[in-house]
Amino acid sequence: MNRVVSLWLAVGLIGFFVLPWYALEDAFWSFGWLLDGYPLDRDTAPAIIQIAVHGKVWLAPLLVFVLAALLVVRTDPSARYFAPTLTFAGVGGLGYLFLQGFTIGIGGWEFASLEALFGPVERQFGMGYGAVLLAASFLFLLTSSFAARGSVSGDVFVAGSIGLVIALIAAFVFFPVSRILISAFQDNDGVYTFTLFVEKITDAKIWGLRCLAENVSCGVAWNSLILAVSVGFGSTVLGLAFALVTTRVRLRMGRAFRVLTVLPIITPPFVIGLAMILLFGRAGVVTQFMDWAFDIPPTRWIYGFTGIWLAQMLAFTPIAFLVLIGVVEGVSPSMEEAAQTLRADAWTTFSTVSFPLMRPGLANAFLLGFIESMADFGNPFVLGGNYGVLSTEIFFAIVGAQNDQGRAAVLAIVLLTFTLTAFYVQRRWVGKKSYVTVTGKGDAGLHATLPRRLTWPILAVVIPWTLMMLVIYCMVMFGGFVETWGRDHSFTLRHYADAFSVTTGEFGLVWSGAAWNSFWTTITISAIAAPLTTGLGLLTAYLLVRQRFAGREAFEFGTMLSFAIPGTVIGVSYILAFNVPPIELTATGMILIICFMFRNMPVGLRAGVAAMSQLDRNLDEASLTLGANSFVTVRKVILPLLRPAIAAALVFSFVRAITSISAVIFLVSADYHMATAYIIGRVENGDYGLAIAYSSVLILVMLAAVSLVQLFVSQRKLGRRAASERQPVVDRSEVAPA
């Protein structure tokens, strides 16, 4: 009896015979459908009843594929017909499932020619639990068949994981994104034209270079590119500086840095931008002071490249920091000690040993900074002035007075080309060298402290930066407690009361504040999305770093896609793709969760890849030799060593879900309203007090969440000496017998 096959077959059978086939217009947790005419009702019936009673005969062939798998349940995987049978069941089942889903929709046949051929059919709704389970069943039967053929060393877990990730990315990235990118080749009436595309993509507004000669704006593509390169470079350098300060400079305030560096990451969009205007704008505090003290006339220098660059540096340095801290910690002290034993001084050790080992981390940090800057919408929106970038241009191509979805798609293609090129360059730079530093051999060394000629410049950058951040955050917190930020600075609690008042009513507490509703939704959705995002990201990282399989490069490329595409495009593409069956998700909480999962997964992925390339493959092999299978190896060897990466991914995906805006604005619905969408409405209306008060509360909540994660999952035990301890530490690490 083949356990894998029988398990997935059982799942498929439950999906077909027991659970409601179509999506229900009801909250999942209520289970109201059990009492609502199930199993015979038209809306809640499982597939078998749909076929027998409700005339959905086109579902019947699915049973053939399920039964095909039943034939090989008792067969040994080495049998000659085992793999082909399962391949037939998997490919046929999945293929047919989606074929019928796409051809028969909410209005019956989707294509008039089919209606002419077969006559009218019943309409059908989106896939529900039953259909999803059956699809999963087909998918894993298919991957088992690949494993049985000997792909990925016949490892069923690895084959299944690859299949799962590919299927998810196909459904939630490729499918929606292709829906919108197609519109680049269509005119406003939906007719395909290639000349229009060429005309749009060669537009001078995108590529114009007249700015070199006269005082006009450059093409938005150049603007975006210059900005993204400077931000990627700057945030990597600064992130590295912070990482080095926290780990390698013996400072009392080392820990405080760590908390401070994550602050910008947990700040809702617009807030930093607004605070910067109040500080450095023409009427800003600093500007006015300079005018008064040094007679420097107020200008609008903050609006444009400088302003966006500063704000993005503030916002994205923490991301670089989070990626780099794991890498900096991971560099093996033994190697550094070896260098020092060989009489290298601190500088030589750093420049020839420590720094080169950080290369994958640096490359990943740069890539993230670059992509984040490209896709960022909030900062250019507030501080952009006349400096147009692709992301804002895309947003306004869709929602602005032009309403030109085709132009948005063209701009998105340009943006995508940039990010994917950056991705490619990064891969070339990291190359195929080995960055393994965690090997499992005794490695109880101490990190070398930084060479002096590095320490001072680094502190000279880090300390003023930290001070500036403190000032900005004080401004922000202050903004929630004054009547009108920037005008009337009398103290008030009015904004907090408006947003978060709780009164006692007839039935106990009443959450009467205006913000509670979106607040709870935001927290719930983000809390559900974070672990899923992390899991998916790390699983993908494991597959990429540790497994060799055909199409790996394409696979990696696919995972970066949703991250590289601006949120606005993702938002609209999700509506286009998931508003009609077979996958009908609009106006649900699910669509937000899925959107967050696929938009933020690459961060967990990058952190995982960077951290995993430092782990010696011998560790896995030792575990495998000792009889563990790949799943146990992942759980007991790799995961514990990845704790900083897991923490980073968890924190980041939780926080990003709370603070993201440009995709969310299209996906929120009356029942699932998110905090940022609410805040942007307030900002649009000039009601900064409430927006700031709400943001401050969100910052505190996220800070608490970050601390919790740091407390529970962040430290990995690498069996190294603590700096201040006199005796060697007892080694409790699972991998490093000292």
């Binding site: 356990r3 398990l7 997935w8 999506a23 217009e25 009801d26 909250a27 999942f28 947790w29 639990y129 999803v132 999963a136 894993f140 877990f157 299944g160 799962l164 001078a204 007249r210 006009v216 205007i277 704008g281 023409r282 009427a283 609008r300 609006y303 929106f381 006349n386 306004f396 602005g400 007075a401 032009q402 309403n403 979805q405 009108t484 005008r487 205006a514 899923l532 899991g535 998916l536 509506i575 508003n579 106006a587 649900t588 909480g589 699910m590 790949s630 799943f631 299209f666 929120v668 619905s669 009356a670 029942d671 699932y672 969408a677 609410y678 409405g681 307030r682 649009e684 209306n685 000039g686």
Partner: protein, 342 residues
């Protein structure tokens, strides 16, 4: 076996969070584009009176239009209430909205009726707001500049770097300004003025109401927006003064449309009639909305600029709201104004 548990868990957790949209017998899904207070006020008043459960989403008019367009094959919304008239007209032009004439139609101001007629009754005016020039009184005094009185004044060299207006490519407000100038002085002269004004404009903002917010906070001296946005700043305590341009001015008509194939058509029509009632429109001031209501018997807020006293042009919504004319004017603006050096 164990290895599959993880996969199964993943698959299940994906399926498990399938929160569906709520379903109730008598409900209405409202897409609302003005400020949230006004939306909430309408929702509460309507549910209280009719018992219909309202699910409301507030998004700007551009965002709502993009959403309705994307959802066209399987509409999720029922009524789109508020927001500037152009996207409503465009939705009508693209067949995204439903034809309906309310029994209260005859009580409306002529401008609200003509908005409906230009769209074959697929939309109707619910409020109006006139364009104006706003300036920061403190900053103007500090710089010793004269207050602008006419559109033409904005091209004067003394205002160099002091004027802010939105980019007509991204903002409906700014497009209305563009169309207004074209209607007041003819296309050639209007473009001459905008070209001359270009040197004075320190920033073409993305969002329509941003210029007056910047003026309020002293980031620019003069901002061109709708007057009711200026009133909001004045009421918040900022030193802003409103100027009604001497040549006359254009206006927007905030509109309302029923979405085609709405799921709750009866509720949608009930809301439509409700929103046109005089007593309901009079309540707008409670939500700090300072536009002029479309029902002739509704009481405009005291702070609202009195449309009677303004020289309003006879704005041709049918012509300047059409996609073709819009594309042409925007292209010309791009080529002749936006591309100019500073």
């Amino acid at each position: 076996m164990k290895k599959n548990k993880l996969l199964l868990l993943g698959a299940l957790s994906l399926a498990a969070v399938n929160f569906g949209p709520a379903n109730a017998a008598d409900k209405l899904t409202l897409y609302c584009s003005p400020q949230i207070e006004w939306c909430n006020l309408m929702v509460e008043a309507f549910s209280k009176e009719t018992g219909i459960d309202v699910a409301m989403t507030r998004k700007s008019s551009g965002e709502t239009f993009a959403q309705i367009k994307a959802e066209a094959r399987n509409p999720k919304g029922d009524v789109w209430w508020g927001g500037t008239g152009d996207p409503h007209l465009q939705a009508a032009e693209e067949g995204l909205t439903e034809e309906y004439t309310s029994p209260l139609f005859d009580d409306l101001h002529p401008w609200a009726q003509s908005q409906a007629q230009s769209a074959n009754n697929k939309t109707v005016g619910i409020y109006a707001g006139a364009l104006g020039i706003g300036y920061n009184t403190e900053l103007l005094a500090e710089k010793g500049l004269p207050a602008p009185e006419c559109w033409a004044d904005l091209a004067k060299p003394e205002y160099k770097g002091e004027v802010q207006i939105a980019n007509p490519n991204s903002s409906g407000t700014s497009y209305t300004t563009l169309a207004t100038l074209v209607q007041i002085m003819g296309e050639e002269e209007a473009f001459e003025l905008m070209k001359a004004m270009h040197k004075n404009v320190n920033q073409y903002t993305k969002s329509g109401s941003a210029p007056i917010k910047a003026a309020a906070r002293g980031e620019t001296t003069i901002g061109i927006t709708f007057m009711h946005d200026m009133v909001t700043q004045i009421v918040s305590g900022f030193p802003v003064e409103i100027v009604a341009p001497c040549e006359g001015t254009g206006y927007e008509i905030g509109s309302m449309s029923i979405i085609k194939n709405a799921r709750n058509m009866e509720s949608a029509k009930a809301f439509y009639d409700f929103a046109l009632r005089a007593d309901i429109q009079t309540r707008a001031r409670e939500a700090k909305a300072y536009q002029v209501p479309s029902n002739a018997s509704a009481q405009p807020p005291d702070e609202a600029p009195d449309l009677e006293k303004l020289t309003l042009i006879d704005y041709d919504f049918a012509k300047y709201g059409s996609s073709a004319e819009r594309k042409r004017l925007l292209k010309r603006w791009d080529d002749e104004v936006g591309a100019l050096p500073r």
